[in-house]
C-alpha cells in the first residue's frame, strides 16, 4: 500500500501517546509518575512494533500470493 510509511509513523506516534498517557493516568492514582510514564512509553513502542511488523508480514504474504497467482495464469 502507498501509505505504508505513514501507517508506521502514525502507529509509533499513537503507541507512544496512548501508553505514556495511560502510565500518567495511572500515576495520578498510585504515584511514581516518571517510572510509570517511562514504562508506558516502552510498552507503547513495543506494541506499535508488534503492529508494524505484523502488518508488514501480512502485506508481504498478500503481495507474494498475488504475484504467484499472476505468474501461474
Amino acid at each position: 500500500m502507498a501509505d505504508t510509511a505513514w501507517t508506521i509513523t502514525s502507529r509509533i506516534a499513537s503507541g507512544l501517546l496512548l501508553y505514556t498517557g495511560l502510565g500518567w493516568l495511572l500515576s495520578l492514582w498510585i504515584g511514581h509518575a516518571p517510572l510509570l510514564m517511562a514504562t508506558g512509553a516502552l510498552l507503547g513502542l513495543g506494541l506499535s512494533f508488534v503492529l508494524i511488523f505484523g502488518g508488514l508480514k501480512a502485506e508481504n504474504k498478500r503481495i507474494s500470493e498475488e504475484m504467484q497467482r499472476k505468474s501461474s495464469t
Binding site: M1, A2, D3, W6, T7, T9, S10, R11, A13, S14, G15, L17, L18, Y19, G44, L47, S48, V50, L51, G54, G55, L56, K57, A58, E59, K61, R62
Partner: protein, 275 residues
C-alpha cells in the same frame, strides 16, 4: 523577495556592515494583516493576503478547466490536451491505481483536490503572491477535515458501523491475545493521528520550503556590501535562492500528489476491508 519580507526582517538599510545582525525570518513572514474587515451578523471576516491568494487560485483553476473543456474535440489540442493529461493522470495514476474500477466515481473529487492544492502551493513561487496558502495551518486542516468526513462515513456506509470499526481495530498478522492492547492503539492511530499527520505533512513541507526561500533571499539582500565576503556571499545566496525556488516548484507538485494519493488510499480502505 517581496517588500513585506524586507520590512518585516529589519528594513531596507540592514546590511552586513551596517551593524545590525542577520535578520533571520521567523513565523512573522506567514502572518498578514487583514486588508478588509467586515461582518455579516455576528460573524467577523478578516480578508488577508492568504484569503486573496486562495480566491485567485480558485478562479485560476476554474477558469483554466472551463476554458480547456469548453468545446471538447475528439482530437484534443492546446489547453484541452493539458486538461485531459491531468485528468488521465488522476484517473489512471491515482484512482485506478489504488481502487481499481471503483475509483472512477472519486476522480472528480481527487481531481479537484489535486489541482486546487497544487495551485495553492504554487502561489509560493508566483511573483507578488509569494505565499503558499497551504503554509497557513488552517488550510491543510480544512482539506484534511473534508477528506476525513469523506472516508469515515463512507466506510461506515460500506462496511457497516460494527464492521468498519472491527476491520480498523483488528488488523491481521498479530497474535490474537494481543488485541486487547493493540485495538485501542490502532483506533487512535486511524481516527486521530491519521488526519493530523495528513494535514501536518502538507503544512510543514510548504512552511519549511517558504522559510528556506525567504532565508536565502534575505541573505542575498543582507550580504550586499563593499567587501569580498559580502559580494561572494550575496551572489551565492542568490544562486541558492533560485535553485531552491526550482526545487520548491517540484515539491509543490509532489506534496499535492502525496496528499491526493493518501486521500485515495484512505477512501480505498473505507470501500473494502484492508487485506
Amino acid at each position: 523577495m517581496s517588500a513585506e519580507v524586507v520590512i518585516a526582517s529589519g528594513g531596507l538599510d540592514c546590511h552586513l556592515m551596517s551593524g545590525c545582525g542577520f535578520p533571520a525570518p521567523g513565523a512573522e513572514i506567514f502572518q498578514f494583516d487583514a486588508v478588509v474587515t467586515f461582518s455579516i451578523g455576528s460573524l467577523e471576516f478578516h480578508i488577508s493576503k492568504v484569503t486573496i491568494v486562495i480566491a485567485i487560485m480558485a478562479v485560476v483553476v476554474m477558469a483554466f478547466f472551463t476554458y480547456a473543456f469548453r468545446k471538447p474535440k475528439l482530437v484534443p489540442r492546446g489547453a484541452q490536451n493539458v486538461g485531459e493529461l491531468g485528468y488521465t493522470f488522476i484517473r489512471d495514476g491515482i484512482a485506478r491505481e489504488t481502487m481499481g474500477k471503483d475509483g472512477d466515481k472519486f476522480v472528480p473529487f481527487l481531481f479537484t483536490l489535486f489541482f486546487f492544492i497544487w495551485m495553492l502551493n504554487f502561489a509560493g513561487i508566483v511573483p507578488f503572491l509569494q505565499i503558499p496558502a497551504t503554509s497557513t495551518f488552517a488550510i491543510p486542516v480544512a482539506f484534511a477535515i473534508i477528506v476525513y468526513l469523506t472516508w469515515v462515513p463512507l466506510g461506515i456506509y460500506r462496511q457497516g458501523f460494527v464492521g468498519f470499526f472491527k476491520n480498523m481495530m483488528f488488523p491481521p498478522g498479530v497474535p490474537k491475545a494481543m488485541y486487547v492492547l493493540l485495538a485501542p492503539l490502532e483506533f487512535l492511530s486511524n481516527i486521530l493521528v491519521r488526519p493530523a499527520t495528513h494535514a501536518i505533512r502538507l503544512f510543514a513541507n510548504m512552511f519549511a520550503g517558504h522559510l528556506l526561500i525567504a532565508t536565502f533571499s534575505i541573505a542575498a539582500f543582507y550580504l550586499i556590501s563593499a567587501s569580498v565576503v559580502g559580494i561572494l556571499g550575496s551572489a551565492a545566496s542568490f544562486v541558492v535562492a533560485i535553485a531552491l525556488t526550482a526545487f520548491e516548484a517540484l515539491i509543490q507538485g509532489l506534496q499535492a500528489y502525496i496528499f491526493t494519493l493518501l486521500t485515495a488510499v484512505y477512501i480505498s480502505g473505507a470501500l473494502r476491508a484492508e487485506h
